[in-house]
């Protein structure tokens, strides 16, 4: 649909100057935060943390102490440990789902943009059907039927990302396919496979990467929303979304239980958005003159 076609272009018009300026300290702070969260998630088992699932009914909603650095939650579980292990879930889903999306969507987009014709109509048409569902509704419905598990959640969110990646790849391929180096390759008798893999793919890769980071941010948010509603990863595994959901119950007594995961999630999403946006500004074909 014509209106949907514009969805990825909505903020392109912001001037290039304003964007390059963002590659300043904020960009690097975002990188540092991402590294911290990644390291914490990857090394969670090695860190000297209490167990995220051990309950201590005598120390429910305990304030910060030497044993529990950020206190404990409503069931006496260590808040910091739950945050760190929650980062694992959020990042696993947040990274794996866009990988599915970028692989399928990227491949379809390059094929559609290069071969055009019926194949393109078919691909674009089927993506339009997928886009006819509000994403969260589709995710909710499919999880309801498939059952809640980490794998199901990742696959669903991955498939939901396919149309967006398809469009980015197709838009980039459409412009690239008319460029001299592709025509030259064709004139030299290169096979379709060679042109697709050696000429187009490396050039489509960067815009896709920038969009991938924005995809990670969106996925973390959607995973958080599902977990918040109790329809994400099943308990007792902690996820930032489910922690915020649990913290909401004790908003009057211990607001930090909702705010700590909320701030962590906000900073992480913001970091991915900042870095993705900066990369997008650098790689957007509309801004780099040919």
């Amino acid at each position: 649909m014509a209106t949907l076609e514009l969805s990825i272009d909505e903020d392109v018009a912001v001037s290039a100057v304003a964007r390059t300026r963002r590659l300043g300290p904020l960009f690097w702070m975002a990188i540092v935060w991402m590294i911290v969260v990644f390291a914490a998630a990857a090394l969670a088992d090695l860190l000297p943390l209490p167990s995220p699932t051990d309950m201590d009914m005598l120390a429910r909603r305990a304030p910060a102490s030497a044993l529990h650095w950020l206190g404990t939650d409503g069931l006496g579980r260590d808040e910091l440990a739950r945050l760190v292990y929650g980062a694992r879930i959020s990042l696993t889903v947040g990274l794996c789902a866009p990988v599915i999306g970028v692989t399928i969507g990227g491949a379809l987009g390059i094929l559609a943009g290069y071969f055009r014709g019926r194949l393109e109509s078919l691909i674009v048409g089927s993506m339009d059907v997928l886009l006819a569902f509000p994403p969260l509704i589709l995710a909710l419905a499919v999880t309801a039927y498939l059952g809640q598990s980490l794998l199901n959640l990742t696959c669903i969110l991955g498939v939901l990302g396919v149309p967006a990646f398809m469009r980015v790849a197709r838009a980039a391929t459409l412009t690239l396919a008319r460029r001299e180096f592709v025509i030259a390759a064709q004139a030299l008798g290169a096979t379709h496979a060679r042109i697709l893999l050696r000429e187009l793919l490396p050039n489509v890769f960067l815009p896709l990467l920038a969009f991938f980071l924005l995809g990670v941010a969106v996925t973390i948010v959607v995973e958080g929303a599902l977990s918040f509603l109790g329809l994400g990863v099943p308990p007792p595994i902690s996820s930032w979304g489910s922690m915020i959901g649990e913290g909401r119950e004790s908003l009057e007594i211990a607001p930090r239980l909702a705010f700590l995961p909320a701030i962590t999630m906000f900073l992480t999403v913001l970091s991915f958005n900042l870095v993705g946006d900066a990369l997008k500004a650098l790689t957007d074909p509309r801004q780099s003159a040919l």
Binding site: A13, V129, A132, L136, G147, A258, F266
Partner: protein, 316 residues
Amino acid sequence: MLGFVARRLVYLLPVLVAVSLLTFLIASLLPGDLAYVILGDQATPEKVAALRHDMGLDHPIWWRYISWLGHVIEGDFGRSFRTGQTVLQAVAERLPVSFELMLLAELGALVIGIPLAIACAVRSGGAFDRFMTGTAFGMLSVPAFLSAILLIYLFAVELRWLPATGYVPFAEDPIGNLRCFVLPSLTLALGEWPVLMRVLRSDMITTLQEDYIAMARAKGLTPSRILLVHALKPSSLTLVTVTGINIGRLIGGTVIVESIFALPGIGRLLIGAIYTRDLVILQGVVLVVACGYVLMNFIVDMLYAVLDPRIRHGHA
């Protein structure tokens, strides 16, 4: 214009059919037999077989799809096997709540977004513009459930100005009804205004560089007249489109916000159906929402064409 509408309508039909097929397939192909869900784990094979026969589950899948689609076209979306309510009744009861929420949210977003966009565009690159652009960017990283928690904490827990949850029908108590909607719609508006502001701001900056704006200035028109009368309408094309695109996000946000603030809308119907595994309601609601979404996009397309003649004549 008629030709354009016809072309879009022709495109609309296959999409709607595909949407119904996908909705049906999600519900039918995935593991878990509806008969078992209804009868529970303790059901005898005979009972299950009988119910499967009654519900037509023993027919081939294409036949089931055709007969289901036939019923849907006649307006029969099925009946909840938990509450006995028809899907249509349940949806009709709850739709006004969701509509009111979305309408108020979109209004709120426009009320926040438009003035800020104009103020930013007038002095683009200035301190206020940079500050607001940054704020808008940050706000885009705040999911609806985060701002909901924040607003509840601020206005319901700390200040105690507004109710955290609850719903009063408009007919009973209009003021109380609106009070219930303040926090939910503000939650959604907080997520929407940055998108609207960014789009309108950049369009407005482009418009303000046009010759006819310089002409209007030269004629000595007041700045407010130039901005509101001469610049706003031509700058609001993308705004209309984006408002349309955002309906999808807004519907998703509505689901979350309704369940947080306990508003009896479509979103809560959906979530409730998932919790109780009421698959008929779930299938019906997904179909209604998806079709509604497709139709809304169609309407936005039309609106866009009315505003911009170039779309009508090009091959949009």
